[in-house]
């Protein structure tokens, strides 16, 4: 039995180092370079590996975002995903994780009408807002079982998945009946590079765009009734100037440092 796998990807700034804010405290987006969220690359790779393990499986990549987010889907197609669908609508602009997960759940249901989705994979978080919510929120909207922080999938078939979850003091093994949602961590695999053939094919691929009407999205969930309202952003407060520990030898420097650590009651 084969699996229809959905992998969720976000198109995010490829470097967060140069982020700046405008006078109103919002992130300046012009001039930013975008790419597939680095954490989602592991989810895409894992989807492809499961496709290779469970014969006859297919992978559909989904992304919520503006028109440019199509590039994240093309990147996923270049790596080997079979289809990509962009969830895009003017009313989706500026939505939070809660609403993104809701839209993804509607798309999963819509895809399931023709080929039931057995597994949805997400990265552990994005590199922009870093909320780390979408996978578990998606599972809640779908009322599917879920597990986050997955570092290994020792076994999977069309009915069940056995997964290993990284927690603070060790590794838990969980068994889930499919369909289910899994969020994966970097440790799970090493993402492949796209092939030239894949790149060429992805350029020509037709990426359907589903708007609020196609998804029959409830405007009250997506729209203005925000539950998390951004007020302002600012660069982190600068740290006070540091002290260069003086000393002619390693021993002198060590003594100076230990003295400071003693003053601060670390010792």
């Amino acid at each position: 039995m084969s699996l229809h796998i959905v992998v969720c990807v976000k198109h995010t700034p490829s470097a967060t180092g140069g982020i700046s804010i405008d006078a109103s405290g919002k992130v300046k987006t012009d001039g930013l370079q975008y790419a597939i969220n680095p954490f989602d690359e592991y989810a895409v790779e894992e989807a492809l590996r499961i496709k290779e393990r469970v014969a006859g499986s297919t992978v559909t990549a989904l992304s919520v975002g503006p028109a440019r987010a199509e590039e994240a889907l093309r990147a996923a197609l270049a790596l080997g995903c079979d289809e990509g669908v962009l969830l895009s609508d003017p009313s989706f602009e500026g939505i939070d994780s809660y609403a993104s997960a809701y839209l993804l759940s509607l798309a999963v249901k819509k895809l399931s009408a023709s080929k039931p989705v057995g597994l949805a994979l997400c990265g552990k978080q994005t590199n922009d807002n870093e909320s780390g919510q979408v996978g578990q929120a998606l599972a809640a909207w779908l009322e599917w079982p879920s597990a986050a922080l997955i570092k290994k999938i020792p076994s999977i078939d069309a009915q069940k998945a056995l997964v290993e979850r990284s927690i603070e003091d060790g590794v838990e093994t969980i068994e889930l009946d499919l369909p289910a949602v899994l969020s994966v961590v970097k440790e799970i695999n090493e993402p492949r590079l796209p092939s030239l053939k894949g790149k060429m094919a992805s350029k020509k691929a037709v990426i359907p765009r589903w708007g609020a009407g196609d998804l029959q999205a409830d405007a009250a969930v997506v729209g203005a009734a925000a539950r998390v309202v951004p007020l302002a952003s600012a660069p982190p407060p600068a740290r006070g100037g540091g002290v260069l520990i003086q000393g002619a030898s390693a021993q002198e420097k060590a003594a100076q440092l230990v003295e400071k650590l003693k003053e601060l009651k670390f010792i």
Binding site: P13, T16, G17, S97, A101, N127, D128, N129, E130, G132, Q133, G135, Q136, A137, A139, A140, W141, P145, S146, A147, A148, L149, L162, S166, I167, E168, D169, G170, V171, E172, T173, I174, L176, A180, K186, E187, A226, R227, V228, V229, A232, S233, P235, P236, P237, G242, V243, L244, I245, S249, A250, Q251, E252, K253, A254, A255, L257, K260, F266, I267
Partner: protein
């Protein structure tokens, strides 16, 4: 009412609940509302945890005890807590952004049809009486303020962001909250737990961390890092480069693709301070850098920068620590 969700991990109460209670106390005082906690777990563990939490600041402790809640499963814990929250209607709900909290909170929020702020470092009450939170984003390059307007207002709190509330003279009321076993027909099952075979300090709640970077030169360098960590009672961290090189397991990685830490003391040894590493540790209270390059970002960021070869500096620090503690003679030739 402000509700803090305690974490019971493999039968033991995780002390981050006392950090939630410190943050919750601040909200409770500003809003004039009661401060409550909930414990979810197997019967014996939940009762023991409830006693501990009731003795340290929670005015009420709801106990959700059932054999099927002994191990953490997202669906089981979310369903149990949803029942409590719908009945008691807290205005604010706080969880820790631990592995469990990060797994549970988004599911719980959606099932309650409310919003959630993740991994916050500060909580406050706005002029509109809604909870306001501060959280880092974009790899620590931005600090964002959010107002929560859903019902309840939910946030996960970064471990170590607040000190732990100490025992108070008063003991809170312990309230059993019946969970209906018939609803616990879940599609996920706990199979097993393999604890890490290590006596090392857990990074995410470590008060002190000693981290090693590319400057170590090789995998054996971490033996020195471990010795210094042991001497300081610290956890062992690592930069992405050393993890990618296979010198140390991924669980030690600090940074954007690893763990975010906020210890009181962070000692960066041979770490130049790439932005993705800084994202995971720049909120540390005191940073010490040991590096041959005085101009690298980590040395600029550090409160105390020690220039030199870490293979000379670290052994000297270990010897000095032993000396000040009086368990070793003064090293010959040291002019302290």
């Amino acid at each position: 009412m402000i509700l803090c969700i305690a974490e019971i991990r493999h039968g033991k109460l995780v002390p981050t609940v006392f950090e939630l209670l410190t943050a919750g106390r601040k909200l409770a005082d500003a809003l004039g509302s009661p401060l409550a906690a909930a414990v979810v777990g197997g019967p014996a563990a939940a009762q023991a945890a409830a006693e501990a939490v009731a003795a340290r600041g929670a005015e009420r402790v709801y106990v959700l005890a059932h054999a099927s809640l002994e191990q953490f499963l997202e669906e089981a814990h979310a369903l149990a807590l949803k029942g409590l929250i719908e009945k008691e209607k807290p205005a604010q709900v706080l969880l820790s952004s631990s592995a469990l909290g990060r797994s549970l909170a988004p599911r719980l929020a959606v099932s309650l049809r409310t919003g959630l702020a993740s991994d916050v470092t500060e909580v406050a009450v706005g002029p509109d009486k809604h909870m306001r939170v501060t959280r880092p984003a974009y790899g620590g390059n931005l600090v964002t303020q959010l107002s929560l307007t859903g019902r309840p207002e939910m946030a996960t709190l970064r471990p170590m962001a607040y000190p732990r509330l100490e025992a108070s003279g008063k003991k809170g009321e312990i309230i059993p909250f019946a969970v209906d076993p018939s609803v616990f027909k879940f599609k996920s099952r706990f199979v097993s737990f393999a604890p890490e075979q290590t006596s090392e300090v857990d990074l995410s709640s470590a008060e002190k961390i000693v981290s090693g970077g590319r400057g170590l030169g090789n995998a054996q360098g971490f033996e020195l890092i471990r010795k210094l960590a042991q001497a300081l009672g610290a956890g062992v961290g690592a930069s992405r480069a050393t993890v990618d090189a296979g010198w140390i397991p991924y669980r030690h990685q600090v940074g954007l693709t690893g763990r975010t830490v906020r210890p009181r003391l962070y000692v960066a040894c041979g770490i130049s301070g790439q932005i993705q590493h800084l994202a995971g540790m720049s909120a540390s209270d005191v940073i010490v850098a040991i590096n041959t390059d005085p101009n690298c970002p980590m040395m600029k960021l550090a409160n105390y920068a020690v220039q030199g070869d870490l293979y000379e500096i670290i052994p000297a620090i270990i010897a000095e620590l032993a000396r000040v503690r009086g368990d070793a003679p003064h090293p010959a030739g040291a002019a302290a």
